[in-house]
Amino acid sequence: MGFEEDLKKLEKIIDDLHSEKISLEKSIEKFEDGVKLADHCLKTLDGMKKKIEVIAKAKDGKLKIKPFMEEAD
């Protein structure tokens, strides 16, 4: 599931929690869903790793991905 969708869902949950009609059970359920979503979003961000790579073409035409070292001009 997309990061942006998660954020949108989280916003929706907060809106729902502010609605007058929601039952206590439902609001606790939603709150728990919200906590899970926020946790998931943060995990996604924390799971991202810095990687700078460059595509090198092998002789057989296949692509090889190598770490990028900036060359001098």
């Binding site: 907060i14 929690l17 609001s27 900036e70 060359e71």
Partner: protein, 383 residues
């Protein structure tokens, strides 16, 4: 009398003279009667108000043209004059053609732009949205120089954990356009990135030309992965910019466009989480309020029920009071029972003289003996 020549001899002489003198000519005129047969050669006339000159542009010269010749276009043609003996004509063999007024590149740019626009390559409707948080960013650019450095620097600042894959290409010169187009295709075939930046630093129209070539436009159009173009300076527009899903004014701006700021994201999530807790904190009192309301109502309802029952009970009590036999006794009546007191006597029948009976008054009872039984018909009246 001059010597009589054959047509071929005269033609050969004319050819020698003309082709010798007009080995290199530059001539300006307006293109008319342009014909493009399947051979790939191009035939047209150049004319001014009085005269016309037949021209031919062979395929090998034609492919070098940046723009497309068209009837009515004013051009400067250079080449040599040749005699075409079979038809008895002379013509200009064009080896270079330049539009007059605007430069060839400028014209080529306009022509390609119009053609691709008509074909729908620039339609807003088919432009893809950029991913909100790309997992990997593909960059098609030169692996050396300021452009890639700027992009990496901006990404480092905005989102240090970004994943970048560079597909190195030449960004100007012969063959650069094909390399750029191929690089876009490679990213699509590989599928390891979810957004592509096409970038090049500033330069002249000639320097940026690769990004105005059709092969690049087609590659961008065919890309399933969203493409951001960032070519030249803010004021430079290339064909790639028009086809791309998003145009960034500069390579740095492209980096900012594709990657959200980590700090802002953290802030946004933090804000949402605080909001979430606050909502729960709001919800519970709201519900306890509700519970209070309910218990209040319940209490009131109970009070009402009690009240109602009490009134009902009072009624019953009064009714009971009315029926209380003691009350009757208090009014002066008495009840007669056998001595054992087990049963009230309702009739003299079954009583016998000498029997002991008990009489119950309001305030006590007495025991007496029956002296005589008097059968009174008045008793029957009750029946």
């Amino acid at each position: 009398m001059p010597k009589i020549l054959t047509i071929s001899e005269l033609t050969r002489d004319l050819k020698e003279v003309l082709e010798n003198i007009f080995q290199e000519v530059c001539v300006e005129g307006e293109i008319s009667n342009l014909r493009l047969p399947g051979s790939g050669h191009m035939y047209f006339s150049l004319k001014d108000t009085q005269c016309a000159l037949r021209c031919v542009l062979f395929k090998n010269a034609g492919v070098r043209l940046k723009f497309a010749p068209a009837d009515g276009l004013s051009v400067v043609a250079s080449g040599r004059i040749g005699v075409y003996g079979r038809d008895g004509t002379y013509q200009l063999y064009v080896n270079a053609l330049e539009p007059k007024g605007t430069g060839a590149l400028q014209l080529a740019f306009e022509q390609l732009k119009n053609r691709l626009a008509q074909e729908g390559l620039f339609d807003e409707g088919r432009k893809k949205a950029l991913p909100f948080l790309p997992e990997a960013i593909g960059v098609v650019t030169s692996p050396t120089g300021a452009v890639i450095r700027d992009i990496l620097q901006i990404l480092e600042r905005r989102f240090p954990q970004a994943h970048v894959v560079i597909n190195p290409v030449r960004v100007q010169g012969e063959g650069a356009a094909v390399e750029i187009a191929r690089a876009v295709g490679e990213f699509n075939a590989w599928g390891g990135v979810d957004v592509i930046i096409l970038a090049r630093g500033g330069g002249s129209l000639e320097d940026l030309w690769s990004f105005n070539e059709e092969v690049v436009a087609r590659a961008i159009y065919a890309s399933h992965i969203p493409v951001v173009s960032a070519v030249g300076h803010e004021t430079d527009y290339t064909i790639a910019d028009f086809v791309a899903d998003k145009r960034a004014p500069t390579p740095s701006a492209a980096a900012e466009m594709v990657m959200p700021s980590r700090a802002e994201l953290d802030e946004r999530i933090g804000h949402l989480v605080r909001h979430l807790w606050r909502s729960l904190a709001d919800v519970v009192p709201q519900h306890s309020q509700h519970i209070d309301d309910l218990s209040d109502r319940m209490r009131r309802a109970l009070v009402n029920i009690f009240e109602e029952k009490r009134i009902q009970l009072d009624g019953f009590c009064r009714e009971l009071e009315a029926l209380n036999p003691l009350a009757i006794l208090r009014r002066g009546y008495s009840v007669t029972m056998r001595q054992d007191g087990a049963k009230a006597l309702r009739s003299v029948r079954g009583m016998s003289a000498g029997e002991r009976i008990r009489t119950r008054f309001a305030d006590g009872s007495c025991v007496s003996r029956v002296e005589e039984i008097v059968d009174e018909p008045a008793g029957r009246r009750k029946r």
